[in-house]
């Protein structure tokens, strides 16, 4: 089975069924499928074939969803890119994936257009929306609306099978370079099916999704809904909680996928009014653990909802969930494995440990990725031989404790990866960017506990002699070069960074606050 099979069937059988709500506009399965086919025809006519990569650099919206399914339809590999990605990272990723097509927001044109001529394999650029004032005209780039209006003909069957890649999703790696997680149709269909099964989402459900579709937690809301004929109310982000609540209630949403940051936002305004969440029957959480205060708040304010605590990573999408009835008994557990999946802990030598141990989590199943795109060493580090000849299992790099019944409790990372707003952040990536600043001699980035983001990023910087650069300037420098979730919150200037005996920066000491402060403007 392929990822888009069910969507196509539902669109053919029930074209008037509600599929997607964006702003005030409601899209039905039939019309959405028509748009998907037209975009797919355009891509095919431009020469985008089976296995070709298509970079999708868009904000949340119907166009994103159409682009995604058009990729599946023509056998191409969708590469969703966070619209907050700045120039350097975009350049890196585009040169690594060598896309045959780029479907990009016109407003981001100043960032992507310099790249288009440097990509030899690029066959078409489809621009979505209106470019910022003063931008040059689209020229030979196609306009999304125009493509949908003029595309004629039918999509040729590309011959895709479920072993073919459906998507490459970029995530942060400990080396500081982003890694593209390669996922086949089988990987994604497997994860989608398991999640649908344990959550019990059905065709009558309406999912409220304010999570970015470039984040797999957001992406799967659409994939799940479109597999069973449910609908999605899609928002672009979740800054203003009152607007979020108005959508949740006003559009009769029944499923609310949350991350702890969203619950913290709600808590800032006290308890909800009873009508705000009356229709919600399911609240899910992943990306970071809910605190006891979060859990109490959700229970009080979503009285009709079952609450699922979950855990996963892009490399296999989802690993575990805690059945709601276990929440009181094990509030800090992220549960056990999903249907059709095996999970276990291993020691330093890779030996399998019994329940009641501490070790690295290993995941086995058809949802485990094929590897990192063009990064063999990183792939071999993380996908290691399993017990069956030829099989590879996923070593997550996440340390867990298990109880006697196999329920898992997250302890931390094996490496120094930071988890901010549910997304992995590589300290190395931040350090590389900051160390390019003229006034910076030495820098270390560490995660510090934060009530809203899970972890916030704190920079320790040794300045060049005589440099008077302040925290504000450093933060502005970062904001211009990083996605929001990885932008540091604080800067501390130090005389020297503490080092371990083998010369590496001692991040544990920094987290404990063992530093020699420098004069001048400090943190902010």
């Amino acid at each position: 089975m392929l990822l888009h099979d069910d969507f196509k069937r539902i669109a053919a059988e029930q074209p008037d069924r509600s599929a997607l709500v964006v702003g005030d506009r409601e899209y039905r399965y039939g019309e959405l499928c028509r748009d998907v086919e037209r975009l797919a025809v355009h891509l095919q006519q431009a020469g985008v074939g089976r296995g070709a990569r298509v970079a999708v650099y868009l904000r949340n919206g119907a166009e994103f969803v159409v682009a995604l399914f058009a990729c599946f339809e023509c056998g191409a590999v969708a590469v969703p890119l966070n619209p907050q990605i700045k120039q350097n990272k975009l350049t890196y990723i585009l040169h690594e994936v060598e896309p045959a097509a780029l479907i990009a927001a016109a407003e981001l044109r100043p960032i992507w257009s310099p790249e288009r001529d440097a990509l030899p394999g690029l066959r078409t650029v489809v621009q979505v929306g209106r470019p910022p004032r003063g931008s040059p005209p689209a020229g030979r780039d196609s306009e999304y609306e125009h493509v949908l209006a003029v595309a004629v003909g039918a999509v040729r069957n590309p011959g895709t099978i479920d072993q073919d890649l459906a998507a490459i999703i970029y995530t942060s790696g400990s080396t500081g370079e982003p890694k593209g997680v390669m996922l086949t149709h089988l990987n994604m269909v497997t994860a989608r099916g398991a999640i649908l099964q344990y959550l019990g989402i059905d065709a009558a459900d309406r999912i409220y999704c304010a999570l970015p579709l470039t984040f797999d937690y957001g992406l799967y809301q659409v994939l799940m809904a479109f597999a069973i004929g449910a609908s999605v109310v899609l928002d672009d982000g979740f800054v203003y909680v009152g607007d979020m609540l108005a959508r949740l209630a006003g559009r009769n949403c029944t499923v609310f996928p949350a991350i702890p940051t969203m619950i913290s936002l709600m808590m800032a305004g006290g308890d909800l009014r009873s009508q705000d969440a009356a229709g919600v029957r399911l609240v899910t959480n992943t990306a970071a653990a809910l605190s006891p205060a979060h859990i109490r708040y959700i229970r009080r304010n979503f009285p009709g909802a079952r609450l699922f605590s979950m855990y996963g990573l892009t490399e296999c999408k989802r690993v575990s969930y805690l059945p709601p009835e276990e929440l009181d008994r094990r509030p800090d557990s992220i549960g056990r494995g999903m249907p059709n999946e095996e999970v276990y802990l291993v020691d330093d030598q890779g030996r399998r440990l019994p329940h009641g141990s501490i070790g690295e989590l290993v995941v086995r199943g058809s949802h485990v990725m094929r590897g990192y795109w063009r990064k063999q060493a990183e792939t071999d580090e993380c996908l290691r031989p399993g017990s069956i000849e030829g099989e590879r299992v996923l070593h997550t790099g996440d340390m867990f404790r298990s109880d006697a019944e196999g329920y898992l409790y997250f302890l931390g990372r094996k490496d120094d990866i930071i988890k901010s707003r549910g997304e992995k952040v590589s300290p190395r990536e931040i350090e590389k960017i900051v160390s390019a600043h003229d006034a910076v001699i030495d820098v270390a980035a560490v995660g510090v506990p934060d009530a809203v983001s899970g972890e916030a990023i704190r920079l320790f910087i040794r300045r060049a002699p005589n440099s008077q650069v302040g925290a504000r300037e450093i933060l502005a420098y970062c904001a211009a070069r990083m996605e929001r979730h990885m932008t540091p919150r604080e800067v501390v200037f130090v005389e020297a960074l503490p080092r371990t005996p083998n010369g590496k920066v001692d991040k544990k000491a920094l987290q404990r606050g063992e530093i020699a402060h420098a004069g001048g403007p400090a943190s902010q």
Binding site: V239, G242, S264, A268, G269, D276, D450, A479
Partner: protein
């Protein structure tokens, strides 16, 4: 009552100034004297995110002695200096905030 009107206009100017100072000090990276248009959208400027909004809510609650409800934390009420000042004024006791058109 021109005196009252004058007082409320001054009040509104104060409210905006207070909000602007907070934003420039806490969110607006760049030169310390950076200006911020009263009608500029925080979202479009990418000035605030979810964490920023929580800080903004605490700031107006503490500085103006008001209580903000979840359903009031909207783009309409919060997304520019002018909007937020107007919202804050509307939450203050009526006698002080009366004719707040400026």
């Amino acid at each position: 009552m021109p005196a009252d009107r004058h007082r409320s206009r001054t009040k509104m100017t104060d409210t905006r100034a207070k909000i602007r100072t907070f934003l420039v000090d806490n969110f607006l990276f760049g030169p310390a004297d950076a200006s911020l248009d009263d009608d500029a959208s925080f979202l479009e400027l990418e000035l605030v995110d979810s964490t920023g909004v929580i800080e903004l809510v605490s700031f107006v609650e503490e500085s103006f002695g008001i209580k903000v409800q979840d359903n009031e934390i909207t783009r309409e009420n919060f997304d520019s200096v002018a909007r937020l000042a107007h919202f804050v004024e509307s939450k203050l006791p009526a006698a002080v905030s009366q004719p707040a058109q400026s």
